[in-house]
């Protein structure tokens, strides 16, 4: 079982303590003593976490505790914001994404896809939205793109609804469809990690259920990190849950443990709805 990493324990020690059946599952995403500042504001404080390949990790915590900030540091989206300073390490597939000369930032973002809180399709056709990631990565082979677009839309459970209007504007879709389009768009470039920031918060219950189903299916091929304010949702979709509070990672454990028997009082209070 995972434990919250104390400073003296290294991640490797904890890994060895794990039961053998889980040991061969490699760590996909890892952060070591990661600190993040927005100018003077200390937004993330010494974050240590390890997320395994092909698992779903949910990030929960009250508003403003740093969930989105942490998520965005995994594909270096925070680089776009002026005045952000990051120290410590973030490793994906064992490579330090902030200090590795071998890994171009565009390569990283290809590998680590992202779905945003509000659906944000481009003002282009449905087809071009999904094809965009392929095009900017230098793929121009027509039939290859067509196949990939179809496959991604199928993966995102949207194909049947849009297959007759691929040339139509993405803005003609409903909010839930737009969000699935954004998922398809992210899947088209075959990332191995999918970051989702409250992907269902702007959607109705049926669309939400569809997205959750999708997450469940995608898990076998992707490592998914999802931010959610919805406890039931975290419980339904995730294997592991991380509770953030005021920029700290308070507790990280199996979802079951976090929701039934958390170690930390702050986690317990949050889960039971005493603050947040």
């Amino acid at each position: 079982m995972e434990k919250q990493f104390k400073d003296k324990e290294s991640i490797e020690d904890v890994m060895q303590m794990q039961e053998p059946s889980k040991q061969n599952r490699t760590v996909k995403i890892e952060s070591r003593n990661m600190e993040l500042y927005y100018g003077e504001f200390h937004a993330l404080k010494g974050i240590n976490i390890a997320i395994k390949t092909n698992s779903v990790a949910a990030l929960i915590g009250p508003s403003g505790c740093g969930k989105s900030t942490f998520l965005r540091s995994l594909n270096r989206m925070n680089d776009l914001i002026d005045g952000v300073k990051i120290s410590g390490q973030v490793l994906i597939d064992g490579k330090d994404i902030y200090n590795s000369k071998a890994l171009r930032i565009e390569e990283l973002r290809k590998k680590v896809g992202m779905v945003f809180q509000k659906p944000n399709p481009f003002p282009k056709s449905i087809f071009e939205n999904v094809a965009y990631g392929l095009r900017v990565n230098g793929i121009s082979h027509k039939s290859f793109i067509e196949e990939r677009v179809e496959r991604s839309l199928k993966q995102a459970a949207l194909w049947d609804e849009v297959k007759d209007k691929l040339k139509k504007s993405a803005f003609e879709l409903s909010g839930g469809q737009q969000q699935r389009l954004c998922i398809a768009r992210a899947l088209a470039i075959e990332p191995s990690v999918l970051l989702m920031d409250e992907p269902a918060s702007a959607l109705d219950p049926i669309s939400t259920a569809k997205i959750e189903e999708l997450i469940y299916e995608l898990k076998s091929d992707y490592t998914i990190v999802i931010v959610t304010h919805n406890m039931q949702q975290a419980g339904r979709v995730s294997d592991m849950t991380a509770f953030f509070y005021l920029g700290e990672l308070v507790e990280y454990d199996s979802t079951k443990k976090i929701f039934t028997n958390p170690e930390d009082l702050r986690t317990q209070n949050y889960i039971t709805g005493r603050f947040g």
Partner: protein
Amino acid sequence: MLKGIGVISWEFLTEMPKDGMTSGGIFPAIVGTLLLVLGSMLVAFPIGIMSGICMSEYVKDGFIKRFVTVMTNNLAGIPSIVFGLFGMEFFVNELKWGDSIIAGSFTLGLLAIPIVIRITEESLKSVSKTFREASMALGATKLQTTYKVVLPIAMPNIVTGLILSLSRVSGETAPILFTVAAYFLPKLPNSIFDQVMALPYHLYVISTSGTNIEASRHMAYGTALVLIIIVLMFNLLANWLRKYLSRKVKMN
């Protein structure tokens, strides 16, 4: 306005001025104005649009950005006669282009550059950052994001703004006074180093210092109306293009 309508006829639009500008048409002035608009476009758009893109997408907030912003604001506020004098001194005399279309175009272009920069910069800035993030998150470079996502979205606004800036340029008298405009030149130019007549200046001449002001009064009304119609057409074109482009980028 009404007095102008009676004057306008096919002859008025297509003939050379006659009899000391008291009769005949204003054809060379119309052509001159259109040439100057085209010329200043060629001067101002490439530089202005590029600078606007740099300012909005590439230059980080800080001293340089503030400096350039202040400078462009200042330039946009300078009276156009100052541009005219500068154009005369630099393009006409220094570069020895003489009174010519090219000197006038550069002078008008210079006047338009700060406006073009502002229009481009503001239009790009108003593009929501969620589109940029979506693009970058898919592994697009900044350059790809700018020209594949941000520019197309901003294009309707940029185009509208630019055409409106043209209508401003087409009505300016002061900058062309000493750089290109001919008092009376009843023929079309042969090269960009020729002088031309232009509507605003022609209007100025026949209503203040023509050979016979009273006799050319009706010509002045007609000319004013044509100028107004040209400006109006620019505005309509801008409007129509915005609608057309908005549809094309599939923005609802």
